[in-house]
Symmetry: C3
Subunit: 268 residues, 3 copies
Amino acid sequence: MMKLKIDAYKILKKVREQKPVIHHITNWVTIYDCANIVKALGASPVMAHAKEEVADMAAISSSLVLNIGTLTTEFVESMRLAAKAANRKGIPVVLDVCGAGATAFRDQKSFELLDELRIDIIKGNASEIARIAGEAVVTKGVDAGDVKQNLVLIAQNLASKRNCVVVVTGKEDIITNGRKTLVVKNGDPMMTHVVGTGCMAASVIGTFAAVEKDLVKAAASGLVCFEIAAECAAKISKGPATFKEKLFDCLFSLDQGIIGKKSKVYHI
Amino acid sequence: MMKLKIDAYKILKKVREQKPVIHHITNWVTIYDCANIVKALGASPVMAHAKEEVADMAAISSSLVLNIGTLTTEFVESMRLAAKAANRKGIPVVLDVCGAGATAFRDQKSFELLDELRIDIIKGNASEIARIAGEAVVTKGVDAGDVKQNLVLIAQNLASKRNCVVVVTGKEDIITNGRKTLVVKNGDPMMTHVVGTGCMAASVIGTFAAVEKDLVKAAASGLVCFEIAAECAAKISKGPATFKEKLFDCLFSLDQGIIGKKSKVYHI
Amino acid sequence: MMKLKIDAYKILKKVREQKPVIHHITNWVTIYDCANIVKALGASPVMAHAKEEVADMAAISSSLVLNIGTLTTEFVESMRLAAKAANRKGIPVVLDVCGAGATAFRDQKSFELLDELRIDIIKGNASEIARIAGEAVVTKGVDAGDVKQNLVLIAQNLASKRNCVVVVTGKEDIITNGRKTLVVKNGDPMMTHVVGTGCMAASVIGTFAAVEKDLVKAAASGLVCFEIAAECAAKISKGPATFKEKLFDCLFSLDQGIIGKKSKVYHI
């Protein structure tokens, strides 16, 4: 692996200046975290799921983040309408396949969305992505199960097959479009002790994708910023709840110096 | 403008003593914040949206707070049932027109609620209120868009037309019933960097309206307390998340001295 | 009453080692708190409510927590499907009768669930449990109303009648299966000033029940740990929001020494 200099700060600066509207159709557990993390980045979150308005809302947004964490049939229908509007307008669509592999319903709905719509970025943890890629794995609720396969290869193949960017979050994040593959090694173990870091990562990626057309670069830059903030937060926290609070604070005040110094992005 | 002494503490004290039940039908993003802010005031929040029970719940409450932030058709139907029960019982109904102007659906549903029910207080930011007043504005998601018109006049006309109190939140809040108009100049810029301050403001207003019949005074007093707490919180916070945490703590322990000293209410 | 040594830490250690999946169908207000408290215990929360997947999700979980705080007819139908799957698999089902007594709808749905399903643990505050037991009380929203009856007797009779464990939370918690009755005297008044402590208590009980077959012991041990964490948090907090934050942190790092020293469990 070769260490890479990507200017994550430059994209963060764009977010802060342009303040893009990020439309979410997300789960009920971490909807609050997702809205707050987008706001902490300096962007403008909007959550709307009524079938009567999702297309209109997507059309005035700069990216769309879908998360199936607490999906229902009606909800997925709204995701479809919103994503179609996003596809028409050409704004990026992120799909967090939260909990894929846990139930047949989740898998089926994920495949429907992927088959019927243009999804620009698929994001999940190792077991979720493996399931979406068609590998036999068991997802333990919404936490990452055990994946024995070669994750990088699985991600690359999925990206090629679906013609999109695939992001696998974990201790080392994999970001690939099938041809170009980056690995982000930032982050802190404390991230696994709080609810919502995975969902927030998808929101951060969606926010960066709203202002940067190179989606591999956008996703990697978003993760770098988010996870450097997590590293800073872990140093000054005394448990999961103070950690989460500091994570928002640190992301809000993240500057060029700290990003340049701590960024750990590699090219495979 | 003439500086005004309104005894906001006196109403806060009533809230703490009477512990009114505040029924919310609100959005999924900030429902958590709304419940917590009501609790921090010393009152008792209750959230219920099933059509089978909203009328019963409104009938045992002391005020009703409606927020269309993540509205659906079914949800608005429950708002209707709850508001009718509130109207029959004579308890105040607050409508937060959250995100009005962002989609046609939001506007339409807001107008339906305003036309069919007795809404005692309409609350929104500048662009939301302008839209509800019939002015041509563009709401950028749920954050305040750009409003060129004379806001005070718009608010006064809307209040007169709808025969209710109109509250426009912003750097300077406008509270008017069409005849009497107050301006609250408390608050801190940090409030714009966290999700939920607008929704919480509506909950605070609803809570004060539960114990004070003069709704202009109730709304202004609520905002004064909420925003003085924000000023105190901003001084001891290091970012948006610590700010939000301190906001609850400061509101919880707000006393007569600090309110008297920091209150900035003006009569136009 | 006789002071009792129950090894609450031993069960907490089991939770941390086994990391059981705790399936929730819960309310929209405190869903975030419930997920976070389960995570702070070292277990794995999963929230899912679609009728198409709840049975599958319950079947891969180690306990099921139901909470009627923001119930709807559809939601209760999902609870039924999930509980049936849990019953078939033999995993414990906790029902938090949140807000029972506030509306006829809540009472009716609670009774339906209790009549049709095997509920292993019923949890509520004094007025909620009294209502479920058939006593005439008035629930003031979701906060505990005034209960004049002998609570211990009411709880014991309900446990015997429903053949389950009944937990009444309050300043002194009552845990009984009708024959064996424990009282937990831990906790801090600050718990009444934040939203969600009741709901979180049910999640903690569900988590402990996932790894300990003696459900009276499981429930009492869970409450002991949760409320000792609250005692620790209260000492280092300056208001309700810092208190809540510290509660998660303290629970996360709770150790054998502090539990042994502070545990206040009594046998009646």
